[in-house]
Symmetry: C2
Subunit: 241 residues, 2 copies
């Protein structure tokens, strides 16, 4: 069911499940379409059983690698031409995943880099909100360009709030996820941050419909925009959002 | 990435894209889980290019059949064990799709029948809001049981409002979708309906967060509940919602 103007995109999702659904909704919103048939074909593998990425990175292990590889191969068998993973921490294994299977795999931090430039944030103080795994693995380090690095990160109290927010969203307690993320964001703004990278895909879910959204770079939205752009063979027709 | 207690579910989606996302969110909400790993594995084929189902039924054609069949076969190749289609009108081809490929395919009207019984609606006047295709094809006729049939349907003015609501959701104009669906519902209530079957998966999107939800049977939620139930090999652990 792929058409001639679109590449079939594969989404390795479920990390976590609501973040993947948020990603899909952003793809739909970014696609110029007034009827079903103009929307993007996708194959989404919602595979929440992939072991915790941060726990693996903190422990120096690679438990998520093999199941992520299996998921990408499953998507390839189903016929996708390009893949994305709406989970920042998983990008610790981006290079290995790209080497060990054939599908081209977009990089979420590259998507965020493009979004930072698009938003004109190059003279602002940028902070990264992310899992401990993403910080430790350096998923963003060296990728954003000199204007944005080194990124500001929060202290242990901020990180505890970020961890709590992410866990709450994954566990279905959205109200608690929002409270904790807003408090972490307030502390980062108070410490001098002007722009926050929501560098874990649970954070845009936690902060949906809050007033700070316009001071945030949403990594999920950034990846959705890059995905819509890369899906179109002619690259000309991405709706602004 | 299937585990021993869950069957891998395939979702033939994109009819329309937002309805599929709504279905996935309902599956997540209905699954008892406090972390990613306890959530359901799914493979979702978002394939909006499938030709308009109502247009085919009204014209006496079968244009959607071959691409739906191709989509189900693609899901089978990816390893799913059971399939659902979160589009009511597509169920006109349910028997043929079940005959022409191997995957067991749940039926959305059977899910609604179970939901009607669960909600204790057997002594109430039930009306069906659906596409012209679903009405003409009789997707619900003969499936719900004597207590609920014949279903009340609206007049031409109501159907025009339902059509407008569905088209607006598919086209991204949610506010217009909500207005038209609420007006159609009001007219059905005024004509004596006590319970409305939202028998097109765009309608629960249009009516999300409205006050009439508790007088509606949401076919998307019903299918999600049946799907979570059928995915669990032991059948005991579906969260009430």
């Amino acid at each position: 069911m792929n058409d001639s103007t679109r590449r079939l995109i594969g989404v390795l999702g479920g990390m976590g499940p609501m973040a993947t659904i948020d990603f899909m909704a952003k793809v739909v919103a970014l696609t110029p379409a007034t009827c079903d048939q103009a929307h993007m074909p996708l194959i989404v593998h919602q595979v929440p059983q992939i072991p915790d990425r941060t726990a693996a990175i903190m422990g120096g292990g690679d438990a998520p690698l093999a199941p992520m590889l299996a998921g990408l191969r499953r998507l390839a068998r189903a016929g996708v031409e390009l893949a994305v993973i709406p989970c920042n921490t998983a990008h610790h294994w981006h290079a290995q995943l790209s080497q060990l299977q054939e599908l081209p795999l977009l990089h979420i931090a590259e998507a965020v880099r493009q979004e930072l430039i698009l938003s004109g944030a190059h003279d602002k103080k940028v902070a990264l909100m992310a899992t401990r795994g993403t910080h430790l693995a350096g998923v963003y380090s060296g990728r954003l360009g000199a204007a944005f690095e080194p990124l500001m990160t929060g202290d242990e109290a901020v990180q505890n709030l970020v961890d709590a927010s992410i866990a709450a969203v994954k566990g279905g307690d959205l109200a608690q996820g929002t409270r904790a993320a807003l408090e972490a964001a307030d502390r980062l703004f108070a410490a001098g941050a002007e722009v926050l990278i929501l560098g874990c895909t649970e954070l845009p879910v936690a902060l949906a419909n809050t007033a700070i959204q316009d001071r945030c770079i949403d990594s999920t939205l950034a990846l959705a925009r890059l995905c819509v752009k890369e899906s179109m063979r002619d690259d000309t027709n991405v709706r602004a959002a």
